[in-house]
């Protein structure tokens, strides 16, 4: 028995996706810090890659000599630490959160076309934010912009959830349809508000709806980061049950998985995560749909491999998108949602046509 067992295990490591999983993790784990440093060196105030690294290290580690020897100007320090780092981190957290929420929603409704926004959460957040921008905080009980957006996201998620319930079960098709319907309704109201408001507000509205991390402060990343951490731990603990859910509710049930309860919990987790991200960064599109598919193409459909690659890949993708968003038309900022679509769509289509896409289930 032992020789075939040994060869079977060696074989297991050669399987599709298993061998590339380790590589993908290592590459992402190296590229993410490199991107953070690179991002510190891009902008109007000139900072070299090395100086960016020195500033970041100097703030994180006490007693670094270059922080006090006058080789770095206060302007450089402020640009890297107070402006570029927070927005890069927010981009990373937002990208990771949207990508993870997308992967979860695809499993919840067992549909490769699902993305975080099918819950109508982004439309709800958009309406909340646009109410504040066009009518002022007083219109929404004195809430600030991101609080109003978060509230809008959660209320919408809850309404869609309740509409999708039938006999105590979440029906995937009803979930998609009610999310789309509620989303359209709220978007219509948002559009109306946008068209009837003063011209000066329109720019802010568009920036929110398309998504942006430009005004980020470190404090903005705290809530999305905490929610991301919680949801990521929960999702990883459910990775095997998620696989069972992909095989169908009956199969999952036969394997001891409470499909309805798992689906409800995943939906709540995805809605919270999406709401937390959208309320700070706006409705950044495309990433939640595409990153999970890229992850599947790279490492196969098993959630224990897909989820970590999705989270890290989403973070990296949005960090790079932000880098482009503020450098292509410098000093003008492009909304990051435009960059994710303009850069992401061709990349995704190329990947989809690539021969390895079979493992992501795209040959059907």
């Amino acid at each position: 028995m032992s020789p075939p067992l040994v060869s079977a295990q060696a074989d297991a490591r050669r399987r599709v996706g298993v061998s590339s999983f380790g590589t993908a993790l290592v590459v992402l784990a190296l590229l993410i810090p490199a991107t953070i440093v690179l991002s510190g060196s891009v902008g109007v105030t000139e900072v070299s890659f090395t100086d960016s690294l020195r500033i970041l290290a100097g703030h994180l580690l006490p007693g670094m000599p270059w922080m006090t020897d006058g080789s770095l100007t206060p302007l450089q320090d402020q640009a890297v630490w107070s402006f570029r780092l927070p927005r890069t981190l927010l981009a990373g957290v937002s990208g990771a959160g949207l990508a993870l929420a997308g992967a979860l929603m695809q499993a919840v409704v067992r549909n490769p076309l699902a993305e975080p926004y099918i819950l109508g959460v982004s439309a709800g957040a958009g309406l909340g934010a646009v109410l504040v921008i066009t009518l002022g905080s007083a219109a929404v009980a004195g809430l600030g912009l991101s609080t109003a957006a978060f509230a809008g996201a959660l209320v919408t998620g809850l309404v869609v959830y309740l509409l999708a319930r039938q006999h105590g079960m979440i029906a995937p098709t009803r979930l998609i349809l009610s999310g789309v319907a509620i989303g359209s309704l709220l978007s219509a109201i948002t559009s109306f508000l946008t068209l009837t408001t003063e011209a000066q507000n329109v720019f802010s509205v568009l920036f929110f709806l398309l998504g942006s991390v430009s005004a980020a402060e470190l404090g903005d990343t705290v809530l999305p980061a905490l929610v991301l951490l919680g949801v990521a731990v929960f999702a990883m603990a459910q990775a095997r049950r998620l696989n069972a859910l992909l095989a169908g509710d009956e199969v999952a049930t036969a394997l001891g998985v409470d499909a309805d309860r798992l689906r409800s919990r995943l939906m709540v987790a995805a809605a919270l995560l999406t709401g937390a991200v959208v309320s700070v960064s706006g409705g950044i599109g495309f990433i939640g749909l595409v990153v999970p598919h890229v992850a599947r193409i790279l490492v196969g459909s098993h959630h224990r491999r897909v989820l970590p690659v999705t989270i890290l890949g989403g973070a990296l993708f949005l960090m790079l998108a932000d880098l482009l968003a503020r450098s292509v038309a410098e000093p003008t900022e492009v909304p990051i949602g435009i960059v994710t679509a303009v850069v992401g769509a061709p990349f995704f289509l190329w990947l989809m046509r690539h021969r390895r896409s079979a493992r992501g289930g795209m040959n059907r």
Binding site: R15, A239, A247, V251, G256, A358, R359, G361, R364
Partner: protein, 264 residues
């Protein structure tokens, strides 16, 4: 382990699909559940693995009601080969069979070496080792059935529930699959369409019609031309297999205008 089904009725979509069904499958026996399409076979099997909750009655494994046990515990004891397996997302054969280990696994981390060995052994038993790396969705109907049986074997339950396991299978593998299942020695309930397969394999047959259990017992005793005429609306002759001496059924269509039994 023995299976006791006691006075079970199951509703689906407001309609009673299974109505007051009761039977026992003793430990280690192979029971074939037969009946025309829509008679409630799949729903009744679903009652056993907790997909469809009975409105009345109990389904007991060694005396314990499966609907009062923790879900996961039930899934550790009942291995299921269901009819449908969604494949909207690509999964390879190995991962598909590894799903059978879900009720036994917990927490984070990779699949253990023993899980991998169990999956490989299950694949070998159904002759699907060569399919290991293939995407499940790219398999032929027969190959899929093999893989789904492997998943049920990897689940390592004490009761095996099979919903039309020989669907899409060529003759050789129909016989093969029955031999594999019988070889496990597990208590088995299988929904079957082929009465000759049921007659040659099962220790007992359970005959359902319109949600009710209309007959049960040894295939030789139960599969009479009268019963087959009543339940399946076809004419049947009982023959003896020239080599094995076993029961062999030959069917003819019912003349649709003849209300009475043709077996007079």
């Amino acid at each position: 382990m023995s299976l006791d089904v006691v006075g079970v009725s199951i509703d689906r979509g407001g309609r009673t699909v299974v109505s007051d069904v009761g039977f026992q499958v003793p430990r280690g026996r192979f029971a074939g559940l037969i009946g025309p399409n829509g008679c409630g076979k799949s729903t009744l099997l679903g009652g056993c693995y907790r997909a469809h909750r009975p409105t009345t009655g109990e389904i007991r494994l060694d005396g314990r009601d499966v609907w009062r046990e923790p879900r996961r515990r039930v899934a550790q004891r009942i291995a299921v080969m269901a009819q449908d397996n969604a494949a909207d997302f690509e999964m390879d054969v190995f991962d598909t069979v590894m799903l059978g280990r879900v009720p036994h696994q917990s927490g984070f981390g990779a699949d253990s070496a023993s899980d991998v060995a169990i999956v490989d052994e299950a694949l070998a038993r159904v002759g699907a080792t060569a399919l290991r790396h293939r995407p499940f969705a790219a398999l032929s109907g027969g190959e899929r059935q093999r893989v789904l049986l492997a998943r049920a074997l990897a689940q390592q339950g004490e009761l095996l529930v099979l919903d039309e396991p020989t669907n899409h299978l060529d003759l050789a593998f129909q016989l093969d699959i029955m031999r594999i299942v019988a070889g496990t020695g597990l208590t088995t309930v299988a929904a079957l369409h082929d009465l000759n397969l049921a007659a040659s394999t099962c220790d007992l047959v359970l005959v359902m019609a319109a949600g009710r259990l209309v007959a049960r017992g040894h295939p030789d005793d139960v599969l009479t031309p009268e019963l087959i005429g009543d339940v399946f609306k076809v004419g049947a002759r009982r023959l003896r297999h020239p080599d094995t001496g076993g029961l062999l059924l030959a069917f003819t269509p019912f003349p649709s205008s003849t209300p009475e039994s043709p077996e007079r």
